[in-house]
Symmetry: C2
Subunit: 145 residues, 2 copies
Amino acid sequence: MKPAQATEQDFADLLARHDVQVTRQRLEVLRELAVEPNDATAQTLWKRLRERSGATIGLATVYRTLSLLSEKRVVDTLAHNEGELCYRLCGETHHHHLVCANCHRVIEIDEQGLSDWLERVFAKHDFLATAHTVELTGLCSDCRK
Amino acid sequence: MKPAQATEQDFADLLARHDVQVTRQRLEVLRELAVEPNDATAQTLWKRLRERSGATIGLATVYRTLSLLSEKRVVDTLAHNEGELCYRLCGETHHHHLVCANCHRVIEIDEQGLSDWLERVFAKHDFLATAHTVELTGLCSDCRK
DNA sequence: GTGATAACGAGAATCATTCTCACCGCAATC
DNA sequence: GATTGCGGTGAGAATGATTCTCGTTATCAC
C-alpha cells in the first residue's frame, strides 16, 4: 500500500475501509504522503500540493485531513520535531519508529521483544496499559560515512 | 533531592553541580518544581510563581530557565500533552515515564530489560544510537476504582 | 567597588495549528 | 430538472505556546 504506484482507486478504498468519505482533497493528501518515503509536516505537504500543478487546497483542509486520517489510524503522527507534528503513511499494524537524526530517514520497527518488557512494567506498577510510544533516534550507516 | 524539604542551599548546589549560574529566579523555578509531584507546563509554573507572594518573574525567564535546565539535564521534559511541553524535576539517572491517563500521576521507570531490546534494534538496522524516548500511558489503580 | 558579562522583564513577534463563516458539490427528494 | 440539506472546503482571522528584542539589572572575577 505504501508504494507510490498505488492508484487513485487504492486510495479511495483505503479511505472507505476506514469510514472516511472520499474527496478530491483527501485523495491528494494521500497521494502526496505516499510519495514521501519518510515523514512530512502539514506545512510541507501543503506547500508541495500547492506547487504541484497549482492544486488549490487550503492549509486548514490539510490539517483537517491529517487529523482525521490520524484519528482513523490511516496515518501515524511522529513528534520527534519538537514544536510541530510529522505525518506518515504507515503499515496498519502497531509499530514504532527509528529515525535518523541527520537525514530523517524513518524505519518502522515491530514490537518483537518489547511487549514482554511493557507488560512487566505495567503490571509491576499496577497500571492498566492504554498506550505507549517509543521513538528511537540514531545515525544511519550512510550518515556516518 | 525530589522532596519539598530541600533547602535553598540544596537547589543552589544542584545548579552549581550542573554548571548553571545561580539566580533568584532559577531558585524559584526549582522550588516550584520540587513542590509539584508530577509535571507542570511553563505557563502553569509561571502563574503559580506569580500568585505565590506576587513574585515578579517574567514568562520568558521561566521558559529560558526550563530550557536551560533541560539542556543541563536537571529537569526532564515530557511531551505527552501534544502542543505544549511538561517539565519535571527528576532523578539524575536515565529513565522513562509511566503516566496515568486520568490523574497524570508520573512514575519513573528504569531501563531494566529495555536496553537489550534497544541494542538489538539499533544493531539490526545499523544505526548508531543517539537517543530514545519511551512514554507509557495507562490507568493507575486508584483511577480504575 | 568596578567593569564585563550573563540574566531579566515586558511586550512584541513568530509560527504551527485551529476556528469562523460564506460558499460549493453532491445526494436524496420533490 | 429544480430544491434542499449537509458535510467538506478555502481564505483569512484568531489562538496559544514559545521565542525574540532591547533596555535594565544582577552576578562574579578582579
